[in-house]
Symmetry: C2
Subunit: 167 residues, 2 copies
């Protein structure tokens, strides 16, 4: 089954993380591939407690707020390869591709690449794709799509991202 | 800060759980109060790994798909008391009130009760309220509101809730 968490609101990555927690609690093995992320995130420290959850990051130290560079493309491409390997590896029941929608939007990876990943998903596995601006063709290919809409956000009141809450 | 995750889409409870994971990873203590839930959920088994996360359930064995009974009201009221205690307890930085919006909608608890909890939140703490149909006054009182909209759901294609994915 293919699930997509998209939209401009807070809660996409955390929804995928919560799902990971639930799956691991039910004895499933999980692989998380984080695109565009490469720095400390509170969740990484927590996930280390689980031998059944593997996380790999394929992004520069800072989440991209600049024009993509060659190194970003290289990292994202490595992410794609790692994701494909995990999808095909028998042991993982759940594969999370965090921020893959944004990696696609920024053209670090191609639409064909992502649709290719979706296509090779074995029937009994679960694939989660997160990130705002999900491509219409990905939405079409998905079995479940949740759009997380920002109704209100404290960032607009001058609150900055806080450790343990936003990262 | 007060965060609300509402809407008819999949991802509200898991978003709160992911936030819990992130907060615990950053060394914060978390209290989770689950209204309307009282049976096995995969996430509970995972959360047991964390000494900094405490979960309590205040619901009947099955998520309510029947008219509320006196016992449901009693349980929800106990949840309210436990939530208030945790909010005021110094050690918790993050308090999650899972499905509280639904408990309110079903009139197991009153609007005044929930607004009262929000009002007594110490300034540096984070309070998360989840559940569809959040009351407009709760949305008004919140600092952040994410509405999780169902764009597509496999339930509509005859797929049932699956262990490790939906619970």
């Amino acid at each position: 089954m293919i699930q997509v968490y998209t939209g401009n609101g807070k809660g996409k990555t955390t929804a995928a993380l919560g799902l990971t927690l639930r799956a691991a609690g039910a004895g499933k093995k999980v692989y998380i591939c984080q695109f565009l992320k490469g720095k400390y995130y509170g969740e990484l420290r927590s996930l280390k407690k689980f031998k059944d959850i593997k996380v790999e990051q394929f992004g520069a130290k800072c989440f991209i707020r600049r024009l993509p560079r060659q190194e970003d493309i290289k990292l994202a491409q490595s992410g794609l390869r790692a994701a494909k390997k995990a999808i095909l590896e028998k042991k993982y029941s759940l594969v999370v591709l965090d921020e893959i929608n944004v990696a696609l939007k920024l053209k670090l990876i191609g639409l064909k690449d992502v649709l290719g990943l979706i296509k090779c998903l074995p029937k009994k596995k679960e694939l989660i794709l997160t990130g705002r601006s999900a491509h219409p063709k990905i939405i079409k290919a998905a079995d479940l799509v949740s759009e997380i809409k920002e109704i209100k956000h404290y960032f607009k009141n001058g609150i900055y991202a806080r450790r343990g809450i936003e990262f």
